[in-house]
Symmetry: C2
Subunit: 205 residues, 2 copies
């Protein structure tokens, strides 16, 4: 390539109800293509088994507030006296280096990202059916009936946000969902506005 413009990375936002299987799909996707998974920042303390930089980036309240003041966050929210947020600075460094960045984020956070990065790729993932979602949540054996009912109700309200996403992927089978997300990312790379560097390069007029 002799083009002046370099290929830029793409920002991918993935949302979907708890129990849809996002983590498994993300792990498989990352095994198949170069992708930076953006780990959220939080001021809450790590729980048993949680690793700094893997589950969350654990920071002090002082550091988090410095990030807010320095406008280093793409979005953030406060729950139960703790901050949770996404670092725009880290994301931009990766995108500028031509690396795709994946955010696993719930619908409210995604809405904030949409305002700030309208060109990001917004994907909503759902299970094959509501019955299947209920089965999966019961199969986890970690939550009691009230918690599961709450998750299903939350899923229903999250589904209402689907029209605000670009793509809908059904996780009926991990390989199928991964294949569709890969196609979405490849297609985005092929978009004319993302390939200006080609027409300005070897195919310059």
């Amino acid at each position: 390539m002799t083009g002046k413009q370099k290929k830029k990375g793409q920002l991918i936002v993935l949302s979907g109800p708890s129990g849809t299987g996002k983590s498994t799909v993300i792990a498989e996707l990352m095994a198949q293509r170069e992708l930076f998974f953006s780990v959220s920042y939080t001021t809450r303390g790590p729980r048993v088994g949680e690793q700094d930089g893997v589950n969350y980036n654990f920071v002090t309240r002082q550091e988090f507030e410095r990030m807010i003041a320095a406008d280093e966050l793409l979005e953030y929210a406060e729950y139960v006296d703790n901050y949770y947020g996404t670092s725009l600075k880290v994301i931009n460094e990766k995108l500028d280096a031509g690396i795709d960045v994946l955010l696993d984020i719930e619908v409210k956070g995604a809405a904030k990202v949409r305002q700030r990065c309208p060109d990001a790729i917004f994907i909503f993932m759902i299970p094959p059916s509501f019955e299947e979602l209920s089965r999966r949540l019961h199969g986890r054996n970690t939550d009691n009936e009230a918690v599961i009912t709450g998750r299903l109700e939350k899923a229903r309200s999250e589904y209402k946000e689907i029209p605000n996403y670009d793509y809908l992927v059904v996780n009926d089978k991990v390989s199928h969902a991964v294949g569709e997300i890969e196609a979405i990312l490849t297609a985005a790379e092929c978009r004319v506005e993302n390939r200006k560097y080609i027409v300005e390069g070897d195919n310059a007029l």
Copy 2:
């Protein structure tokens, strides 16, 4: 699927300079997925080796003018006293049956399709470089130098239309170009507006 809405086929418009290798890519694409290739209608007579229904649908001037009057054409043009056009009727029948339809059409025809079917997928295909295009045109051994120079000039003017397309695919290798077009079609199927039938079906709220 118990959804009320059925999956509709997608209209795909492929353009690109002569010598880019569109025919080879289309043949490979059709070997890999169900796709209806829309054959143009013309009033000119068949040349040696041309088959009715394969290279063109050969029709009388009277029949072509009936199609114009009946608004059965998506686009048409007249060159050297002969009509050339694309049947909207045939295309719509396929799309309604859920079958994707591919049009191989030059930039002016594509512009007309864009006005009438803005939701179609517009793909522009180019060779890896201008030097390579020149080499390929020379390699054909069918055209003289003046014809080749004319084709290269036409290619330059066609490149100016690239910003009006959705996707840019480089045919550096047939399998690579086919893979990218397949990804574009799969991604289009995943678009939220094309998957309403899913959320109204098994995932109905």
